[in-house]
């Protein structure tokens, strides 16, 4: 009996954590965005309509993290557990919580950064509000990629959790959630840092808009690379089947998840910071665009090699240990 109750405890905590942790991040993020909007209205009262509209849309985009969390929570809640679920299903569901909570919390928090700088940029350039609005929309949508990946992995884990019958297999699913959850922290912070700098740069020099737009797309694709590595490891962990009593491989898989997850943090953050300073310099000096963008992309490529080492070792831990 105690096993069934523990399983139920794990199930219910997963449901609660999934929405609660996401809501913390989203709540703080929305507060940051709207406080910046009020400050911006103070700076430039003439643009108050534009600023209000932009901040409301920005908040709706930040809300995505909470909507995804609610969706996963509800799917888990509605899933009727007619039979007495085994303890292993409960453990495997912790993977869902890891996948959605970590990425949702960080993204709810950092999605506010571009929205903040965008409203301040509108306060500086009131006649350029349309383009700044579209730029904020695009950058905010792109930085939500880690959350989308976490959502995909959570759905996959949900699909397999019910039929898990051994501890080794449930640890494999937890490892999958851990890889995408921890792996999304660094790239999310890096992407948001870059998007913040890019929105600020448009406020400084609106003539650099076209250059900054193309630079944004190339840089964000490179900053996103570590999270794609984490997604690959996660998907491999989900699709690889292991024997029910093969605990050693399961432990190696947990280590592989930690390896790729922690390995992407440094690469993601510093790659974002490199691109952020390049974007700022492009705004100050649009003529040097070609030199600055080339150096920045080259440096980002080198920084990403750290994540590639992490990926190599993670793959070896899964397959050749």
């Amino acid at each position: 009996m105690i096993i069934g109750e523990t399983s139920e405890l794990l199930h219910c905590s997963t449901i609660a954590l999934t929405i609660a942790v996401n809501s913390i991040g989203v709540g703080i993020g929305e507060g940051l965005a709207i406080s910046a909007a009020i400050e911006a209205i103070n700076i430039q009262p003439a643009a108050k309509n534009d600023i209000a509209r932009i901040s409301i849309i920005g908040m709706a985009l930040i809300e995505t993290a909470a909507i995804m969390g609610t969706t996963i929570s509800t799917i888990l809640l509605l899933d009727s557990r007619t039979h007495h679920a085994s303890l292993y299903t409960g453990i495997a569901e912790l993977g869902i919580a890891l996948a959605i909570c970590l990425s949702g919390f960080v993204l709810g928090l950092v999605s506010a950064l571009p929205a903040q700088q965008a409203v301040l940029a509108v306060a500086r350039q009131p006649f350029f509000s349309q383009k700044i609005f579209r730029f904020m929309l695009i950058t905010q949508s792109i930085i939500q990629t880690p959350l989308v990946f976490g959502f995909i992995i959570a759905m996959f884990i949900k699909d397999q959790a019910a039929s898990t019958i051994s501890l080794a297999n449930s640890l494999r699913l937890v490892a999958s959630g851990l890889a995408i959850g921890v792996g999304s922290i660094g790239p999310a912070i890096g992407l948001a840092h870059f998007a913040q700098a890019a929105c600020r740069s448009i406020g400084i020099n609106r003539n650099a808009y076209n250059k900054l737009l193309s630079f944004t797309f190339i840089s964000e694709a490179i900053i996103e690379t570590p999270i794609i590595f984490a997604l690959i490891v996660s998907l491999l962990l989900i699709t690889t089947s292991i024997a029910p009593d093969d605990m050693l491989t399961a432990i190696a898989m947990l280590a592989a998840a930690l390896c790729i997850g922690l390995g992407t943090i440094g690469a993601g953050i510093s790659s974002g910071k490199t691109a952020a300073s390049a974007a700022y310099q492009i705004a100050l000096n649009p003529d040097n665009y070609s030199l600055l963008s080339r150096i920045s992309m080259f440096a980002q490529g080198i920084i990403d090699t750290c994540a590639i080492y992490g990926l190599l070792i993670a793959l070896m831990l899964i397959y050749f240990r």
């Binding site: 985009l61 909507i67 579209r134 989308v148 737009l213 193309s214 797309f217 996103e224 690379t225």
Partner: protein, 244 residues
């Protein structure tokens, strides 16, 4: 009752001996998509006659919508191109109708099925790549994958694939989430007359439908078409402008 059972069923090709789930068709999604296409036709044909009248509200609405989208396309692409304008605008109108069809009773959004959003993501990706090849030539297009050095090739390929996945799953996740929340609210309210009246009078029904149906649907359709437009503008730019 009969209708819902018909709509929830699936069509398949088992009578041909094809037993894979790939050949199964989700009837709800397909029928709803057809209804939306029919609605588009029904709206469009009378508009041609309404537009001939000089002073009417419909004429004002249509012209202001069209001119705002023309302005957005021209600002983003640098030049005005009718082909790109009509592609982006039809993408927006179709996704917007797909997302907001939930305000009509008994209909469901086709975009809450992953197959629809994935198809939309593929359409926008293929369109962008075709025009990138057309404007730069196939050799320069392939060269871009190997820039700045050839080692970057896998990263470029992964990046392109990730754009399809993130675009289609972003649309799917938001609409699916909204649909689930609306569905739960409706289930909770439907049970008793008291709650139904309370929801109707206090306006909670309206607020939930407005936010998750109309506002979220509009926002996601706009985000999807703007992302496509911006990817297109990046693809059409001279690569000398980007890299050298």
């Amino acid at each position: 009752m009969q209708e819902t059972e018909l709509l929830d069923s699936q069509w398949n090709l088992k009578w041909l001996g094809l037993n894979h789930s790939f050949f199964t068709i989700d009837v709800t999604t397909v029928v709803n998509t057809w209804i939306i296409i029919g609605l588009l036709i029904i709206i469009t044909i009378p508009l041609r006659f309404i537009l001939k009248k000089k002073e009417s509200v419909a004429r004002y609405l249509v012209t202001s919508f069209t001119s705002s989208f023309m302005e957005i396309c021209q600002q983003t692409l640098g030049i005005f191109s009718f082909a790109h304008f009509s592609f982006i605008t039809s993408l927006f109108i179709f996704i917007f109708l797909c997302n907001t069809i939930i305000v009509v009773p008994w209909l469901q959004e086709p975009t809450k099925n992953l197959n629809t959003t994935f198809a939309l993501g593929l359409i926008s990706f293929v369109y962008t790549q075709i025009f990138a090849i057309k404007s730069h030539g196939i050799i320069n297009y392939i060269k871009e994958y190997f820039s700045p050095i050839f080692v970057m090739f896998p990263l470029h390929v992964l990046g392109k694939l990730a754009t399809i996945i993130s675009m289609s799953f972003r649309l799917f996740g938001n609409i699916f989430g909204g649909a689930i929340i609306t569905h739960i609210y409706m289930q909770a309210v439907e049970g008793s007359i008291l709650w139904e009246t309370l929801g109707l009078i206090s306006g909670t029904n309206l607020v939930i439908l407005l936010f998750f149906g109309l506002f979220e649907g509009f926002l996601q359709a706009f985000v999807f078409s703007m992302l496509t437009l911006t990817y297109l503008s990046i693809a059409l730019q001279d690569e000398s402008d980007i890299l050298l």
